[in-house]
C-alpha cells in the first residue's frame, strides 16, 4: 500500500518534501494536521443528570439575561 499526502489546490506551492516533513514533525509532536482536525469530531458528551440540570438552569439564565439586557437598553434609550 502506498500512502500519499494529499494537497489542497491553494497549497500547491508547498513542496512535497516539505509537506511530508511537516506531517512527520506534527505526528511526532502528537499534533493533528489542521485538515484532519477539522473533519475529526470530538463527539457529543454523555450528559449526567447533574449536567442536564445545569444546562436547563443555564437556559433559564439566558432568558433572564436577555430580559435584563433588554431592560438596560430600554433604560439607556429613554434616560
Amino acid at each position: 500500500m502506498t500512502t500519499q499526502v494529499r494537497t489542497l489546490p491553494m497549497a500547491s506551492v508547498l513542496q512535497p518534501t516539505e509537506q511530508a516533513w511537516a506531517a512527520q514533525v506534527l505526528r511526532e509532536e502528537h499534533l493533528e494536521l489542521s485538515e484532519a482536525r477539522r473533519v475529526r469530531h470530538v463527539g457529543r458528551a454523555k450528559l449526567s443528570t447533574t449536567t442536564r440540570i445545569i444546562l436547563w438552569a443555564l437556559r433559564v439564565y439566558v432568558v433572564l439575561m436577555m430580559l435584563i439586557i433588554g431592560v438596560q437598553l430600554w433604560l439607556g434609550v429613554h434616560q
Binding site: 500500500m1 502506498t2 500512502t3 500519499q4 499526502v5 494529499r6 494537497t7 489542497l8 491553494m10 497549497a11 508547498l14 516539505e18 509537506q19 511530508a20 516533513w21 511537516a22 506531517a23 514533525v25 506534527l26 509532536e29 502528537h30 499534533l31 493533528e32 494536521l33 489542521s34 485538515e35 484532519a36 482536525r37 477539522r38 473533519v39 469530531h41 470530538v42 463527539g43 457529543r44 458528551a45 454523555k46 449536567t51 445545569i54 444546562l55 443555564l58 439564565y61 439566558v62 439575561m65 435584563i68 439586557i69 431592560v71 438596560q72 437598553l73 433604560l75 439607556g76 434609550v77 434616560q79
Partner: protein
C-alpha cells in the same frame, strides 16, 4: 498501477508553520540547561500574557484611573490583586483545555453540548466583542486627542496598524508583534512613580485593605460587584484556548503555559495598581474626575506627574486600546471558524482563511467606523457592553468547568479535586457577583429594591 493508495489528510501552510515552530522548541528542549529552558519558556509564552494585558484594555485602564481618582490609595489596590488571582485560576483551565484537546473553546462547546450552545456561545461572544471593540476605538481616539490628533486620523491610523498586525500570515509573527505592543502597557508604571506616591500608604493599603473613603456605601458595593463580575470577560476564555491551539501547544507545554498565564496576571495586576496609584494624585488634591476621559486624565496629571508622565499615560491608553482590539478581534474570528468549520488560523494566509480574516478585520473596521459617526450612541454602547460582558460570563464559566472535568476529552489532565474546589469556588463567586450586579443595574432605576 493497481496499487492501493491510502490518502493522508492534506498538509496546509498552517501545518508547515506549526511544524517549524515545534521543531525550534523541540531542539531547544533536547539541548537542555537553564538558559535553554528559559529560551523554551520565552518561545512558549504569548497567549497568557496577551490575554491578561489585553484585559487591561482602554476602558479597564480608564476604570482604574477613575478608581484612583475617586478613592485614592486604599482598598482597591489589594482588591485588584485578588481579581487577577481569580483570573489566573480561571485562565489556567483554558491552557490545559487547549493543549490537551487541540480545540478552541467554541469548538468544544459546539461538539460536546450541541449546536444550540455552540451557536449561542459564538453569537453571544461576537456581539459582546463587537461592542467592546467600539469602546477600544473610543479609548484610542481619546488617547490620541491628548496629542491633538483629529479623530478620523486617530481611529483610522489605529485601525490600519491593527490590520497590519492581523495580516502577518504567521501566528508566531502576529504573537510577537502584539507582545511588542503589549509591553507598552507598562507605561503606566513610571507614571505611578512620577506622582511621588506615599510608599508607606501603599504598603498599608496592601496589608490593611484600607482606607475606604466614605465607607462601604451601596454605590461602592455596586462598583465592587461590577469589578468582580468583570474580572474575566468571555473573550478571554475563548481567545486563550484558541491561541494555545493555534500556537500548537501540547500537554508537555502545560507548565510553561501556566507560567505564561501567571506572568501575564502579575504584569497586569502591577499595571492596574500603578494606574490607580498614578491617578490617586487627583484624589489627594480633590480634583473631581467623575466625567474625565483619557485626555482629561492625562491633562489633569500634568501638575503632579509632569508633561512626561501625562504623555506616558496617554500613550498607555492608546496602546491598551490597540492590543485589546487585536486580541478581541482574534477571539471572534477563532470562534466563528470553530463553529462554522471554516479554516481558522493565523498561520494561514488571507486567501486560505477568508472567513476568519473577514470577521477579524471587518469587525474592527465597523467598530472604528461607528466611533466616527457624528451622534452615534457611544455612551449607550459603553453602558450596555459592561452589562453584556458581565452577564455573558456565567454561561462561559459553567461550560469551562464542565469541559475541564470531562474525562473523555481531558484524560489524565482532568481537574484534580483541589483544582476543582478552587476553580468552582472562584466561578461561583464571579457568577454570583456578576448576576447580582446585572440585576441591580436594572432594579435600581426601576425602584425594585427597598430604599431605591
Amino acid at each position: 498501477m493497481g496499487q492501493n493508495v491510502s490518502l493522508e489528510p492534506p498538509v496546509t501552510t498552517e501545518d508547515i508553520h506549526r511544524a517549524k515552530d515545534r521543531v525550534r522548541i523541540r531542539d531547544l528542549r533536547r539541548k537542555g540547561g537553564v538558559p535553554r529552558r528559559l529560551m523554551v519558556l520565552f518561545m512558549l509564552v504569548g497567549p497568557g500574557i496577551l490575554v491578561m494585558l489585553g484585559e487591561n484594555d482602554g476602558p479597564s485602564q480608564l476604570s482604574y484611573a477613575a478608581t484612583g481618582a475617586s478613592f485614592g490609595i486604599g482598598f482597591f489596590l489589594p482588591f485588584v490583586l485578588l481579581t487577577f488571582a481569580m483570573a489566573f485560576i480561571v485562565q489556567e483551565l483554558t491552557v490545559r483545555l487547549g493543549a490537551v484537546t487541540h480545540r478552541g473553546h467554541a469548538e468544544l462547546i459546539f461538539e460536546r453540548f450541541g449546536p444550540f450552545w455552540g451557536w449561542f456561545a459564538m453569537v453571544d461572544l461576537a456581539i459582546g466583542n463587537f461592542l467592546t471593540l467600539v469602546t477600544e476605538f473610543i479609548a484610542i481616539r481619546a488617547g490620541m486627542s491628548f496629542f491633538g490628533v483629529p479623530a478620523p486620523i486617530a481611529v483610522g491610523g489605529g485601525f490600519l496598524l491593527v490590520v497590519a498586525v492581523m495580516l502577518s500570515r504567521r501566528y508566531w509573527t502576529w504573537e510577537r508583534l502584539t507582545l511588542g505592543l503589549a509591553v507598552f502597557n507598562l507605561l503606566f508604571v513610571p507614571v505611578a512613580f512620577l506622582v511621588h506616591p506615599d510608599l508607606g500608604q501603599i504598603a498599608h493599603a496592601f496589608v490593611s485593605w484600607g482606607p475606604v473613603p466614605g465607607g462601604f456605601t451601596q454605590q461602592m458595593m455596586v462598583l465592587i460587584m461590577a469589578d468582580i463580575g468583570a474580572t474575566v470577560t468571555p473573550w478571554m476564555l475563548f481567545f486563550q484556548q484558541s491561541a494555545v491551539m493555534d500556537k500548537g501547544l501540547t500537554p508537555k507545554d502545560i507548565p510553561q503555559g501556566r507560567m505564561d498565564t501567571l506572568i501575564g496576571a502579575i504584569l497586569a495586576a502591577v499595571i492596574a495598581c500603578a494606574t490607580i496609584i498614578a491617578t490617586s494624585a487627583l484624589f489627594t488634591h480633590h480634583i473631581d474626575a467623575s466625567t474625565f476621559q483619557a485626555a482629561e486624565f492625562a491633562q489633569a496629571l500634568v501638575p503632579y506627574a509632569g508633561q512626561v508622565g501625562a504623555t506616558l499615560f496617554a500613550l498607555g491608553i492608546i496602546e491598551a486600546g490597540l492590543v485589546a482590539t487585536i486580541t478581541i478581534s482574534s477571539s471572534s474570528a477563532y470562534a466563528f471558524g470553530e463553529v462554522t468549520g471554516a479554516a481558522h488560523s493565523l498561520n494561514r494566509p488571507l486567501k486560505e482563511a477568508p472567513g476568519f480574516y473577514a470577521v477579524m478585520i471587518l469587525g474592527a473596521g465597523l467598530a472604528a467606523a461607528i466611533v466616527l459617526i457624528p451622534g452615534a450612541p457611544l455612551t449607550l454602547i459603553v453602558l450596555v457592553v459592561n452589562v453584556i460582558a458581565t452577564l455573558a460570563m456565567p454561561p462561559a464559566l459553567v461550560f469551562l468547568i464542565l469541559l475541564v472535568n470531562d474525562h473523555e476529552i481531558m484524560g489524565d489532565y482532568v481537574n484534580t479535586r483541589f483544582t476543582n474546589i478552587l476553580a468552582v469556588a472562584v466561578v461561583l463567586f464571579l457568577c454570583a457577583a456578576g448576576m447580582l450586579w446585572g440585576f441591580m443595574t436594572v432594579a435600581t432605576p426601576l425602584h425594585l429594591l427597598p430604599g431605591t
